[in-house]
Symmetry: C2
Amino acid sequence: MSKGRLVIISGPSGSGKDTILKKVLKSLPELKFSISSVTRPMREGEVEGEKYNFVSREYFEHMIKNDMLLEYNNYIGNYYGTPKAPVEEVIENGGEIVLEIDVNGQQNIKRLVDSSLSIFIMPPSVEVLRARLAGRGTDSEEVIEKRMTSALKEIECAKNYDYIVVNDDLDSAVEDFITIIKADRLNTERQNKIIDEVLEKC
Amino acid sequence: MSKGRLVIISGPSGSGKDTILKKVLKSLPELKFSISSVTRPMREGEVEGEKYNFVSREYFEHMIKNDMLLEYNNYIGNYYGTPKAPVEEVIENGGEIVLEIDVNGQQNIKRLVDSSLSIFIMPPSVEVLRARLAGRGTDSEEVIEKRMTSALKEIECAKNYDYIVVNDDLDSAVEDFITIIKADRLNTERQNKIIDEVLEKC
């Protein structure tokens, strides 16, 4: 059995990472997705257990105390965290689990997990990014500028990732993501046992 | 422009690496192949400039003296070496060049070139390897055993490679090889400039 892998995906708002990930998970059904636990209220259109588990502050603090989280943070008064058990289970069974997380989370995970694969989703240009962020049409110029500043800060951190996928054409970006996952399965680190298996039959 | 890459391919006799490489080079015509310089006589079926440049001992020693080789060795009285210029030219232009070399050569190259990608072609089992080596039907049991011993020693070195491609089914092995090359093009190390390109237009 091959060694498992924690796959980290990040990218600024407007990079299209959610759309890419949805298509990748459909193409590779064996790829698991790590559902985050959050204490913020559910928003319209969100479904419990799809991208998030909506839990109480009490339960979240119980998870913190009992070391049940791989990482967590507190953003404007709400907790966001990655439950440890599902990640460990998938990795132990030689599978892959995808964690969608921001650039700070990636740095924390990199320190904690020795065998992660990180992919940064990049907009093709600043102009396209601005057009995508403005495209929603509902936000003020000020809000858009704020998002731009935050997106540019994230892009600076792309150098900390193993791979960069430029999302110019959606289908190509999905294909690139899948290529990275498939190549990683051939990484020597993940199939070290094949050497022993071939040799032990000598 | 992306950064280039030196791609190393190794595998024991009977692994099928020549057949795989031929098909990969046909599928990816932009991939260059490093032609070795050798002083041994040309064998039947070999073509000058295809896999080898057949040169005189004098010229080979001239290349050694003038630092024109990336690496070389002397095997049973004959020189085998990798000319430096074509490799450097391809890498500088952001391309990829494949070097077919044995496990000792790979260790030397790894020390010399900071940015190489190494792929080991592995037979699916010792039984298959033995059948392939015996399959030629022209060699004695002793010769086959000698080849087996040497092949098994090479397999032990597979752990020093970045990737392992198991050649059970030829088409799958070719596809795996291509997947590794394509994923490598998305490696952050190779497309670091994209970050600057996106950011400089802010």
